[in-house]
Symmetry: C2
Subunit: 368 residues, 2 copies
C-alpha cells in the first residue's frame, strides 16, 4: 500500500493499455503504419506496453529522448523536431542498431547534414495548418525542391513527409475535429498528387485529436499520435476522448480550506501540473477534480470543481458547498491534468494504481 | 568556452549579486530582518552569495527544499507553504541544528502538530489580499484565536505572522505597486494594533514587487522576497525592476525560419520556459529576445521580438524583418524568461556567464 504525501502522478495501467490497443487497431484497420509519439509518456515501461501491442517504430521529440529509447532496444525512431544542427556531434554517438530519422524543413539544415559524413534518414516537414514549422502543404514547388535536394546527397535517404496537424487543438467538439481531419487528408492527398515523379511518397501524420476522431486516412501512410496513451482534460474538451478514457491523475494533499470562498488549497502547483489551462463549462481550469476511490484509484468527474489557479507549489481548487464540507485538511484529492505530457514531464515518474513505480525520461535525463 | 547546443539557463553573477546586495541594504535601511525566499534560485551556490551579503535566515516553499538548504548549513529556515500534515514523518528526520518554522492557517493543522511530539516554531499565515491561503488581515478575532491556540500548546512556539502579498503581481507600473504596498502595510499595522495583548507580534511579509518598489515597511518586521535575485520579464512589466536588472536568460538554438510569417523556431519550449506569459506592448509573450553579446552574455531587449507560443520543445519567436534577416539556423538566441522561478525549476541548472555550472535543487531532488 503506497502512502501519498506529496503530489504524485497516478497511472491507470488498464486504461493506458486499452488506449494503446484501440489506436493500434485503428491504424491497422486503416492500413496505416503506426509510429506512436513517445513524448507524452517518455517511459521505457510504458514503451514496453506499446511494443506488446505489436508496435515496432516510434516517434520522439528530442535526440536525448531518442537515445533513451534506442538503449531500450527500439530500432526505428523518428525525431519529430526540426533537426538542431548544433547537436550534430551527438548524432555520431547514436547506437548503430537503430534507424534514426530526422526532420528537416529548410535548405540550410539539409546542406549541413550533407557534409556531416553520416548516413541519415530524412523526413521533410509539412505545415498542414498548425503554422509552427514545416513547408506549407500548398507549396508544391518548395516541397519538390527540398525532396530533390535531399535526394541529391548520397548520405541522405528520403523517408517521406511528416506533418503534425497541431491546429486540431483549437477545435471544440468532435465535429470540428472531423472537419480539420477531412481538410488535412484532402490537403495531403492534393500535395501527393502534385509532386511530379514523387506521387508515391510516404506520409506520416497524426495529432491525437484527428487520429482519435477521424476515419479514412486517405492522405497518409502512417500515424504518429502521442497523447492518446493517457489523454487529458484538454483532449476531452477538444472532443478527442471521454473523461473516462483519461489514464492519469495527480494525487494531491489538502493543506488548507477557505470557507468564505469555498476554495481548497492543495499541495500541487505549476511545478507539478505545468501551467496549461482550458475553459471547462465557462471556467478557466488548470485541472478537474475526480472522485477518489480507494488509495490510488479514481472515478468520475466531480461537477463544478476545478483548479482555478496555480502558483509554484500551491493549487487553488474551487468547489461546491457540498464538496467543500466533505473535504478535510490531510485528505488526498485526485485531479485530472489539463495537459498530461507536461504534467508527466514535471512530476518525473509514475505510480500505477497497483502501486508500481515507473520511470520517466525527465528523471534519467537529469542524472546525466 | 562553453558550447551551447540545447536550451540552457545562463546566469549573470554580477547582476544577481547586485540584486541581492541592493535588497539586503534596503531591508537594513528600513530596520527589517531579511529572510529571502530561496524558491526562485533553489541553489546552494547562489545561497552562498546571499550568505556572503550577510543573510542568516531564509524562506523556502517545501520541506524538501528546507532539507536541501539545511544540509548546506542554514540554521533558520521558514517553509512558507501551509504545512502539509501528511509530511509529518519527514519533520522527524530534520537536521537538529536548524530552526525550522512552519506556516499554518487553520485549527486542524495546529491541533495535529500539537500531538506530533515535536517542538516546532510556527508562523500564522495572513491573507493580505492575494486570496490564496491564510486568514484575512481584517479577521482580527480569527487571527487572535489562532494565536491563542498555538500558544496553548507547549510544543509549539509562535514566531509571528507571515503574509505574501501575491496580488501585487496584478499590478502594471510602479504607481500600482506602491498603492498595493501602502495598503498592505496599513492593513498589517491595523491588524497588529487590533490584536489585544499581541500588539508586538512579529510580522514577515514580502513579495518582490512591493519590496522592490515600496518605501517604509511600517507593518512588518521582516522581508522575504524571492524573485528579486533574478527578476524576469513579468517583474519588469509589473514595474518592480528594469529589464537591465534581469540576471537570467535562456540560450536557445535556432532550428527553423519562416520567411512568410517572420517567425523563428527555437529549440526551447514549455519544458524549458514553463508556460507563464504576460502582455508586452500589446502582445502575449512567453519570453523576450535580447541581443547576444559574445558566447554567454546578453545586452538590451530587441524591440518587437517575442516568443508568441510554446509547445513541448518548440518556441516560436515573432521578429521584425530586419532581425529575421540577421538570424540563421544554427545561431543561439538569448531570451529573457517571463517567470524566472519556473524557468529555473524546468531547466534544472545554471551556467554563469563565466562558464561555471551551478546546481539547482530540482536536479538533486530527482535523484532521490
Amino acid at each position: 500500500m503506497i502512502s501519498i504525501t506529496k503530489p504524485t502522478l497516478i497511472l491507470d495501467e488498464d486504461k493506458c493499455r486499452y488506449n494503446i490497443k484501440r489506436m493500434k487497431e485503428k491504424a491497422d484497420a486503416h492500413q496505416q503504419d503506426f509510429r506512436p509519439h513517445f513524448k507524452t509518456h517518455q517511459s521505457n515501461a510504458i514503451g514496453e506496453w506499446v511494443r506488446e501491442a505489436g508496435v515496432e517504430a516510434i516517434t520522439v521529440s528530442s535526440l536525448g529522448m531518442a537515445y533513451y529509447f534506442a538503449q531500450a532496444g527500439w530500432e526505428d525512431i523518428t525525431v519529430a523536431f526540426p533537426f538542431n544542427i548544433l547537436e550534430t556531434e551527438d548524432l555520431k554517438k547514436f547506437p548503430a542498431h537503430c534507424r534514426l530519422t530526422l526532420l528537416v524543413d529548410n535548405e540550410q539544415t539539409i546542406s549541413y547534414l550533407s557534409t556531416s559524413g553520416l548516413s541519415l534518414s530524412i523526413f521533410i516537414e509539412i505545415d498542414s495548418g498548425a503554422h509552427r514549422t514545416g513547408l506549407s502543404s500548398s507549396d508544391y514547388e518548395g516541397v519538390l525542391e527540398l525532396i530533390r535536394l535531399v535526394k541529391s546527397f548520397d548520405n541522405l535517404t528520403l523517408r517521406g513527409l511528416y506533418s503534425h496537424a497541431g491546429h486540431s487543438y483549437q477545435c471544440r467538439g468532435e465535429a470540428e475535429v472531423k472537419a480539420v481531419h477531412h481538410q488535412l487528408h484532402n490537403d495531403l492527398k492534393g500535395l501527393k498528387a502534385a509532386l511530379k515523379g514523387e506521387e508515391d511518397i510516404y506520409i506520416c501524420t497524426g495529432d491525437t485529436p484527428t487520429c482519435s476522431v477521424g476515419g479514412h486516412f486517405e492522405g497518409s501512410n502512417s500515424l504518429s499520435p502521442g497523447n492518446f496513451v493517457f489523454y487529458d482534460v484538454m483532449q476531452a474538451e477538444i472532443g478527442a476522448c471521454s473523461y473516462h478514457d483519461i489514464a492519469v491523475a495527480v494525487a494531491c494533499p489538502v493543506v488548507s480550506k477557505n470557507a468564505d470562498r469555498k476554495e481548497i488549497c492543495i499541495y500541487g502547483g505549476a511545478i507539478h501540473f505545468s501551467k496549461d489551462s482550458i475553459e471547462v463549462n465557462g471556467n478557466k481550469s488548470f485541472g478537474q477534480l475526480v472522485e477518489s476511490q480507494g488509495n490510488l484509484e479514481w472515478g468520475t468527474v466531480v461537477p463544478d470543481c476545478y483548479l482555478k489557479s496555480l502558483s509554484q507549489e500551491h493549487g487553488l481548487l474551487k468547489v461546491t458547498l457540498a464538496v467543500f464540507d466533505q473535504i478535510q485538511v490531510g485528505d488526498v484529492l485526485m485531479i485530472l491534468p489539463i495537459h498530461s505530457c507536461l504534467a508527466a514531464e514535471s512530476l518525473g515518474c509514475y505510480i500505477t494504481t497497483n502501486g508500481t513505480e515507473l520511470e520517466h525520461f525527465s528523471r534519467v535525463k537529469s542524472q546525466r
